[in-house]
Symmetry: C2
Subunit: 323 residues, 2 copies
Amino acid sequence: MTERRRDPLSGEWRTFATHRQDRTFLPPSDQCPLCPTRDPSVPTEVPWSSFDVAVFDNRFPSMVAHPPPPDVAAFGVHDVLPATGATEVVVYSDDHQATLASLGQDRIRLVVDVWAERYAALGQREDIAYVFVFENRGEVVGVTLHHPHGQIYGYPEIPPVPARELEVARRHLAEQGTCLLCEVVAQERADGLRLVARNDAFIAFVPFAARFPYEVHVVAHRHAPSLLDLSDPDRDALAAILEQVLVGYDALFGFPLPFIMAMHQAPSDDGEWQAVSHLHLEFTPLHRAPDRLKYLAGSELGGGAFLNDVAPERAAAALRAAR
Amino acid sequence: MTERRRDPLSGEWRTFATHRQDRTFLPPSDQCPLCPTRDPSVPTEVPWSSFDVAVFDNRFPSMVAHPPPPDVAAFGVHDVLPATGATEVVVYSDDHQATLASLGQDRIRLVVDVWAERYAALGQREDIAYVFVFENRGEVVGVTLHHPHGQIYGYPEIPPVPARELEVARRHLAEQGTCLLCEVVAQERADGLRLVARNDAFIAFVPFAARFPYEVHVVAHRHAPSLLDLSDPDRDALAAILEQVLVGYDALFGFPLPFIMAMHQAPSDDGEWQAVSHLHLEFTPLHRAPDRLKYLAGSELGGGAFLNDVAPERAAAALRAAR
């Protein structure tokens, strides 16, 4: 069963892919499917014996370009669609032990270019409305493969979280005549209390109303709707600030900090979002202390109301001191 | 620092309570603060030596009736309010080892009455717009106290998840002239494939587009906006079906299944929601297999788009077979 079903209560689309129940789960490092193929008789997902960055379709996809027909038919309040879309894997290095931070700024810059290229290519597909670049890092986040990698999903509609942000930003633009995130950036630069890092083109800061104690947003100073609106120096600046954030994360508690990274940029279906969308990366580590996690429980999951036990200004100071 | 901050990107309010960072964390069972006070020189949170059900204010509250002024002032796109509200603890039993399922239907009925009474009492407070009954169960959900208990939050506004559901239901009512959840109940009763349990007044079913593999919704057949609209026999029927769902959960994998339970009912601020709101309880266990959890990662947390590896119809069959 591979299909998309719409939840009548929330109106949100959800994807079912029951074959994923048997996906590869934390294999030993000598059987890592994301390592290069060093012995042709034992091929991995990557056919080369060495590489810098590799991109390929997820072997256990939840959405594909030509999905099978759904198992059930739509009826009444229940809506169903084929699981159209894309799920790609971006392997950051052929070194199983590396992290994006340890790979250095040049490699991060190459990854930025790969993200931009895939954003453009997937965005041109008629069946994809939103290209979503993200990374899950660490077992506490549910990672099933340790080799350093991120993912790119192409959804057939704008998913709920970016859709909500875009709707709020569209209303702000209509009422105030300004880009909401441009205003956020201006306030955070002027205030400085929540800044984690800054350079000529980007700032990294703990958001004013962070959901997670050590949440960090990375945002361009100027109004760039997507990665495609960044100049070459902008992309260098993004790579530089990402390295700073990641090094700070790993220094904070003295171990590689697990996190989810989610990149929000312009939907790819048409041009109406260019004035509204402002590229940003949201890092959400789950730790609230070296030995404590922030869990999503009743208030967060059942109510959508986040509780946070750490003041964003203190978290930013700790992250500044760490790197 | 105890205050509420509005996230400019999503428009959502988030609560900061930094004193909670030091809250009691998985104490040994002989130091359980929710056990009865058996030795007056070592008082717990409950002053009695035995009790059926106890309700009291959370000792580490995130919201209170008379909060301190916020640490920061609102400025520009950043909005701040005092952390007004209520956080109550509902202890289901004086037996540290009990579970709601093991306590039996009469005790569950008493808990239903307590929920209804607190919903009414908190809802009458001018500063509370939404009364949210929930339970976090199990360490994988982040529970910090094992003694069987649930919680009740009184929020100063309708939190995002119920707000979204109410908005969708309001639109459905305006366009179709019917209650959305009444239609869902009719379809699930007629279809039967996703039913887990049923009686004269309630059904329990795996939702058509479940977020979690073994998610179960418990919904009244008739249009009851809140617990206060249930008759005495209805409350008995709710207790009976809750016992069936909980016994099934614990039998499914042979251990007490961790879950989040979230109750959605009418906001308490005025009468406009009576036609729109339809009481329901959402159970979301995190397990997708006995030794595997479903994690909220990039797609769910960063995008809001849920992926589910188990067909709801199969999950319902497994839950029916388990009890």
